[in-house]
Amino acid sequence: MDDFRSTEIIFGPQHPGIHGNFAMRLELEGDMVRRARLVPGYLHRAFEKLMERRTWHQNIALVPRICVPDPDVNEAAYSMAIENIMGLEVPRRGNYIRSIVLELSRLAAHLMGLGGLGGAIGLYTLPMWTNGERDYVLDLFEALTGGRVYHMYTWPGGVRWDMPENWPRKALKVMDHIEAQLPSYYSLFFESKVTDARLKGLAPITTSWAVEHGVTGPNLRATGLEVDLRRDDPYAAYEELDFDVITLKQGDGMARALVRWYEVGQSIRIIRDAIEKMPGGPVIAKTPPPLAFMVPPGDHYAHVESSKGEYGYYVISKGGKYPYRVHVRGPSFTHGIDVLEKMLVNQELADVALITGGLDVCPPDIDR
C-alpha cells in the first residue's frame, strides 16, 4: 500500500509559481512535501566556456546575463578580479560611481524580489507597485549607462563614462520617491494578515545550519549573523560610505522578506551618501585599449555582496588577451539546489513557491 501513498509531481519550469527557469520533482504525501529534487539546466548557456574564447573586454557584454535582476554585480566582480591580477587602481570617483550602480542594482533586484513574494501569496498589488517603482530605477540606469537591464557599464579599471550633469539630481529625486513608497509597501504587505499567516514561522533556519549549508547574503542575515561583504571585505567605495548591516534573528520567511525591505532603505541611504561625498577626478584608470588589453598571469577570487548573497568570480589568467578560465560562484548555486532540497521537506505544497521566492533563488546563476 505504501506505493500508493506518495505522489510525485513536477513543479515547473512552466509553472506560474516557480521562481525562474528550473523544475522541482516533489514527492508528496497528501499535501506535504516528503522529498524534493531540483532539476536545473533549462538556462545553461555555458558562459564559463564562452568566456575562455572572448577577450577580457568582450566578456563584459556577456557576464551581466548571468543574473537578470541584479546584473551589475557580475561586471563589478569580474572587473575587480582583473584589476587585482593587474594591480590596477580604480580612481576614487570611479569607485563611487560603481557603488551607486551596485546599490541601484540591489534596489531594483529587491523591489522585484519583494514583488515576486507578493505574487506568491496572491497579493498582486505589490508586484505592480514595486515593478512600477523599479522602472524609475531602470530610467536612471538608462540615463547613466545607456542600457536599461544589461548595462555593460563597469569596466576593468573603472566605469565607462562619467555621470551626466543632471543625473545626481534625478537619482536623488527617484530615491525620495521610492523612500516615500516604502511605508505603503509595509502596510500593504507586512501588516497584512495573509502575509502574517503565510510567512511567519515559514521554514525557519538557524545560523549554524545556514553557515553549514553555505547560505549567504540576506538569508543569512535574517538568521542573526551580522555578515556583509560590503563591510567585511570592502570593495568599490563601501569603506567610506555610511550604512548599517541589517540583521533579524528569526530566520523564517518573514525575516527573510523583512531584511530585504530594510535593505531597500539602506541602499537609498548609501546612494544619497555616495552622491553627497562624490569626489572629482577621472572615472577610469589609464588602461591599454580594449583590443590590446593583456592581463599578466595570475589568479584572483573577487567576491561581492549581491542582492541574493555572495557572488564570486575566480579568474585565472595565463597572460594574453583571453582569460584562461573564469569560475562563477552564484549565490543560488547553494541556495537553489542543496539548501532548497532540504528546506522544502515537510512543508506544504502551497508554500513551495513562497520558500523559493523567499530565498530569492535566481536559476540563471545555477546554470550559467
Binding site: 568582450q58 557584454a61 505592480m128 515593478n131 545607456g146 539630481r169 527617484v174 583590443l291
Partner: protein, 180 residues
C-alpha cells in the same frame, strides 16, 4: 483590564479594521505606471522624454571620417559587425546584423575616428529579416527610412493618426540624429 481600557482597544481595532481600508481610496486618484505606447510619451521622473541621449540603439556611421580600420568588427562580442565591400567605394564598410547585435556599444568606444555611433533610435519594423542587416551611414539611407522608425515619430496622438490615415504619403522616417 478595565472596561475603559477595553473600549480603547475596541476603538483602535475599529479604526484599524474599518477606517484604514478607506485610506486605500487615495490610490484611485493615483495615475497608473503604464503608458499607452505609442500614444503617450515615456517620461522619466522629472518629465524628460525617454530614451535619453545615451541610450544605445541603431548604429550610424560617418563614411567620411570612417577609415575602415575594422576595429569595430574585431571588438564586437557578438560577431555582429562584418567589414564588407561596397559598390562605388574603395574602402570596406562595417555592416551590422541586428539579429546578433547586443547593443553593448563597444564598437563606438573603440572607434579611433569617432565615426561609429549608436543613436537612441530603437524601433525598426519589417517582416523581412534581411532588412535587419545593413550598412550604417551617417544619413539613414532611403530604404532604411522605410523600416527605422524615429522614436519621436512614434509619439503621435490620435489626431495625428487620423491625419496620417487621410494622407498616406506622409513622411515616414526622419533624419538620423547624432548622439554627440
Amino acid at each position: 483590564m478595565s472596561p475603559g481600557h477595553r473600549q480603547v482597544i475596541m476603538m483602535t481595532d475599529f479604526v484599524k479594521k474599518t477606517i484604514r481600508p478607506f485610506r486605500a481610496l487615495r490610490f484611485l486618484a493615483r495615475k497608473p505606471h503604464t503608458i499607452i505606447s505609442p500614444h503617450e510619451q515615456h517620461n522619466d521622473i522629472e518629465g524628460e522624454p525617454l530614451p535619453t541621449e545615451r541610450y544605445r540603439g541603431i548604429h550610424i556611421n560617418d563614411w567620411e571620417t570612417c577609415i575602415s580600420c575594422g576595429l569595430c568588427a574585431r571588438i564586437c562580442p557578438c560577431d555582429a559587425i562584418e567589414m564588407v565591400d561596397v559598390e562605388g567605394e574603395q574602402k570596406k564598410r562595417p555592416e551590422v546584423s541586428y539579429g546578433r547585435c547586443c547593443f553593448c556599444g563597444f564598437c563606438e568606444d573603440v572607434c579611433p575616428r569617432d565615426s561609429m555611433h549608436l543613436t537612441s533610435n530603437y524601433v525598426m519594423i519589417d517582416k523581412n529579416s534581411e532588412t535587419f542587416t545593413f550598412l550604417p551611414e551617417n544619413d539613414l539611407k532611403e530604404f532604411q527610412k522605410e523600416y527605422i522608425v524615429e522614436t519621436s515619430q512614434l509619439r503621435y496622438n490620435d489626431k495625428d493618426v487620423k491625419k496620417a490615415e487621410k494622407e498616406p504619403s506622409a513622411k515616414k522616417g526622419g533624419k538620423g540624429k547624432k548622439k554627440k
